[in-house]
């Protein structure tokens, strides 16, 4: 499984990468904002995208919309502190597959991944 991991915080990318590694997912491409993520997305094939919301250059919601213009099926999971109802609704309306709010445990991330990617147990 190949994951595109998008977060402007190096700390959060490291935490999520550790969680993914524990799940046996080692093919992880990191991007520090939506713009870099979109470049990676256009160049490579990913099985799932994990994206933060608040980032410089291009935020997660804009990235989500850009991805949906190019690919309707790839699971995009938003991982963010933005848990207000209005935010969640706008993400879902823009094609977000699932939503995980920070803080999260490795088990919570595993549950989300398992829901969307059949090869993760």
């Amino acid at each position: 499984m190949k994951v595109l991991l998008v977060d402007d915080s190096g700390t959060m990318r490291s935490i999520q990468k550790r969680c993914l590694n524990k799940l046996g997912v080692n093919d992880v491409v990191e991007a520090e904002d939506g713009r870099a993520a979109l470049v990676a997305f256009e160049a490579q094939k990913f099985d799932v995208v994990l994206s933060d919301w608040n980032m410089p250059n291009m935020d997660g919601l804009t990235l989500l919309k850009e991805i949906r213009q190019r690919n309707q099926t790839v699971p995009v999971i938003m991982i963010t502190t933005e848990a207000e109802r209005s935010r969640v609704i706008s993400a879902i309306q823009s094609g977000c597959s699932d939503y995980l709010t920070k803080p999260f445990s490795p088990e919570m991330l595993q549950e989300k991944l398992a829901k969307w990617v059949s090869c993760v147990v």
Partner: protein, 163 residues
């Protein structure tokens, strides 16, 4: 205390409970420890409680600041528990980890104050003995002190009505 400061003090007090709830949740989930509140006081002066502080600005129908201030040993343990990295002094990794912890606390607290339509800034990190954090003159911050198995820390909350 002026009428405006008293109004802002009430607003700050309303924001304390969401911050307390968020702090407990973030520490338990991300650091595997339950912090225990040791004191609640009005913040006097500008000198920070501990060695490193993360400062987040908040805007919306109210404006405010949340400051998470940690003793050095606590900050080093935050990095260790979040990423498994050992550090002996404040460096970029420690600052990033403390900033992200603060971002999660502020973000989680914000969700409990949805009516205020708040946005939070990227955290700024300040470190050094006796560093100072200044609030607007009409804001009376509240300081929530904590003990935890990774060491002491404090959270300051100061809000005012948006102009």
């Amino acid at each position: 205390m002026s009428a405006a400061t008293a109004t802002n003090c009430n607003l700050t007090a309303q924001c304390v409970n969401p911050v307390i709830t968020a702090t407990k949740s973030v520490f338990e989930t991300m650091l595997g420890c339950t912090p225990v509140r040791s004191a609640l006081s009005l913040k006097e002066g500008t000198t920070s409680c501990y060695d490193i502080s993360a400062v987040i600005g908040i805007t919306g129908k109210a404006s405010g600041t949340i400051v998470v201030s940690l003793k050095l040993q606590t900050a080093l343990q935050v990095l260790n528990r979040m990423l498994g990295i050992e550090a002996t002094e404040i460096n970029r990794e420690v600052a990033d980890a403390v900033g992200e912890l603060t971002n999660m606390i502020a973000g989680s607290a914000k969700c409990h104050m949805e009516k205020l339509e708040l946005s939070i800034s990227i955290p700024n990190i300040v470190s050094g003995k006796n560093h100072e954090v200044h609030y607007p003159s009409n804001v009376q911050p509240i300081c929530i002190s904590y003990d935890s198995e990774i060491g002491p820390f404090a959270i300051e909350v100061g809000f005012s009505e948006s102009r």
